[in-house]
Amino acid sequence: MRDLVRNIRVLRWRVLARHGALALTTLFALIPFVWMLSLSVKPPEEIFQPEFHLWPQKFNGLENYSVALTAAPMHLFLINGLFVCATIFLLQLLVCVPCAYALAKLRFRGRDTLFAAVLVGLLVPPQALAIPHFVLLHVFGLLDTYAALILPWIISTFGIFLMRQFFRAVPDELIDAARLDGLGEFEIIWRVMIPVAVPAIAAFGIFSVVAHWNDLFWPLIAIRSEELSTPALGILLFRDDEAGQFLGPLMAGATIIVAPLVVAFLFAQQRFIDGISFTART
């Protein structure tokens, strides 16, 4: 009996300790978001006053957010982000999927060489190619256009590799059956491989969109016009702007930039987490 009581006490202590520790790390993870949201609805004088309130005494959210939305083309940043990420991803698929299919399921001369090239390509960090990409775009007069944001990314060795690994797991019999049913190779890709590979495509899509929505390095190099900025670059331009000197609107702007992905994540957590860890582990 005494043992039982002791066990229950130990158990309860353990539950409490776990929640206590996790509350701390959760606080660490979330506090910047809370801080951002809090400041984004505060008037300037409250931000600078010595005592701190999580919720403002005078709600200034409407003003801050409307300044953020009007002083900088915040909506353009988001639209640009959406457009650029979607285009990159679609083009990546268009290039990667047939190549991955051929690497996984067709026999042709040079296949091993091509796959080796893809593996070598995986090693190259994209930042290392910034100079020649810049030069190339400069030569074709494409700097400071959407094309500059999109073109360097349409070949993804990672995408080829990922899709190839996935396609290899598709049984050969399925493809043979399709050939007997009268499908040509490209029809096999469209009607059989792509539908079967939806999980892998979703994972790659999440990876690709998150990477390019959040990328700062390349837009900083390729883009000069504010109207062409992607979200990450946009918030930086906004900060260095006049209106960005005010913390309330700046935090409101940051919230607007961060929100789309975070909201998407909250709606499809499992998908995102599976996708990101799937791509990381392949």
């Binding site: 049984p171 007997l180 049913d181 499908l183 009607r191």
Partner: protein, 374 residues
């Protein structure tokens, strides 16, 4: 007219030969089974007939037409695969409709998205729906048409795979171990259904299996393959009673044929089994011998097992021939007759000399003709 004629079909993977010149005529409407141990090249041969692989040399003729170089879909063949190979993302209906759509809809009508709107597609789709439903009814899967393959049992998937092959009325059905993923009971049932199907459709069936029981029960003729070669082609009873090769004799029949090395026998026993000069192995089926008193038997030994199947009893006997090192395991069938056998009983075994098959050192059958000559 859709027989299949293979002439000297050969194929190697790299340096290793997989098929060594296979010549075989399969008659129109015949049910031919390819049997052989794993890795002997059955699937490879089937894939060459289907056009999924190309042979290195030799020719394939289907229905009087040389099909070498024709793509699988132009050969008028359908194939049923071991793991069914159903499209996991399509409903049963779409799985079965796909081969018809690919043949009847034009390239433009098959285009993604826009194809659905193209004129003239409706009546074709109607026809396809009708035919799919007809075939599904025939296979008793009409109620499953809207399901995905993942929601079906193994037997149901097997039927859908058959349906997908049947729906376009091919001249030739190729089946690569289609029953090996089913449990034993279902397998026996599907055997019967496939033979019934064959009778009804009247098309040519080429059926691959490594299960000799399937081969024996289903086929008009059986082709036995070993190591890339055809060893013997014949009706099941012909292969059973008159095997041309030791490997065929051993592969066909269950329980396995009894094989006695001639060297293990003394002169008298050899004579009693009608052994001819040059015979290195004597073989007899379980039903080609009688049990008798130990002293009266040509061979004798103690019973190591009794397998009572009701209509038949199989006795496992460890015979001890004169020059044999260890025991020689034999299986003898006896009719249930009131006599009880127990493990440990010593019995005699008397093979019927007329039904003893004799093979030379290379495993080739020594026929009666040769016996007379010798």
């Amino acid at each position: 007219m859709s027989g299949i004629a293979l002439s000297a079909v050969a194929k190697s993977h790299g340096a290793t030969p997989v098929l060594r010149g296979i010549s075989l005529d399969i008659r129109d409407g015949e049910f031919l089974t390819l049997v052989g141990p794993s890795g002997c090249g059955k699937s490879t041969l089937l894939r060459i007939i289907a056009g999924l692989d190309a042979q290195d040399s030799g020719a394939v003729v289907i229905g009087g037409r040389v099909v070498d170089g024709l793509r699988p879909k132009d050969r008028d063949v359908a194939m049923v695969f071991q793991a069914y190979a159903l499209y996991p993302h399509m409903s049963v209906f779409d799985n079965m409709a796909l081969p018809l759509r690919m043949r009847r809809l034009s390239g433009a009508q098959r285009l993604p998205l826009v194809g659905a709107l193209s004129p003239g597609r409706r009546p074709i789709e109607e026809g396809i729906r009708h035919e799919v439903e007809e075939t599904a009814a025939l296979l008793d899967i009409g109620h499953l048409l809207s399901r995905k393959p993942g929601q079906l049992s193994g037997g149901q998937r097997q039927r859908v795979a058959l349906g997908r092959a049947m729906v376009r009325h091919p001249a030739v059905f190729l089946m690569d171990e289609p029953l090996s993923n089913l449990d034993a009971k279902l397998r026996v049932q599907m055997r019967a259904e496939i033979t019934a199907l064959h009778r009804r459709l009247g098309s040519t069936f080429v059926f691959v299996t490594h299960d000799q029981a399937e081969a024996m029960t289903m086929s008009d003729r059986v082709a036995v393959m070993m190591a890339g070669e055809l060893i013997q082609v014949g009706a099941p009873d012909e292969l059973y009673a008159d095997p041309r090769d030791m490997r065929v004799a051993e592969f066909i029949g269950s329980p396995k044929i009894n094989v006695v090395p001639a060297a293990a026998l003394d002169q008298g026993t050899r004579a009693a089994m009608a052994a001819v000069p040059g015979a290195s192995a004597l073989a007899f089926r379980p039903e080609a011998a009688d049990i008798c008193a130990p002293a009266a038997g040509v061979l004798a030994g103690s019973i190591t097992g009794v397998e009572n199947l009701g209509a038949d009893i199989f006795l496992h006997v460890a015979a001890r021939p004169a020059h044999s090192q260890g025991a020689l395991p034999l299986i003898v069938r006896v009719a249930p007759s009131g006599r009880r056998f127990a493990v440990g009983d010593v019995v005699g075994v008397n093979p019927d000399p007329a039904r003893v098959l004799q093979f030379d050192a290379g495993g080739r059958r020594l026929k009666a003709r040769e016996r007379v000559a010798a």
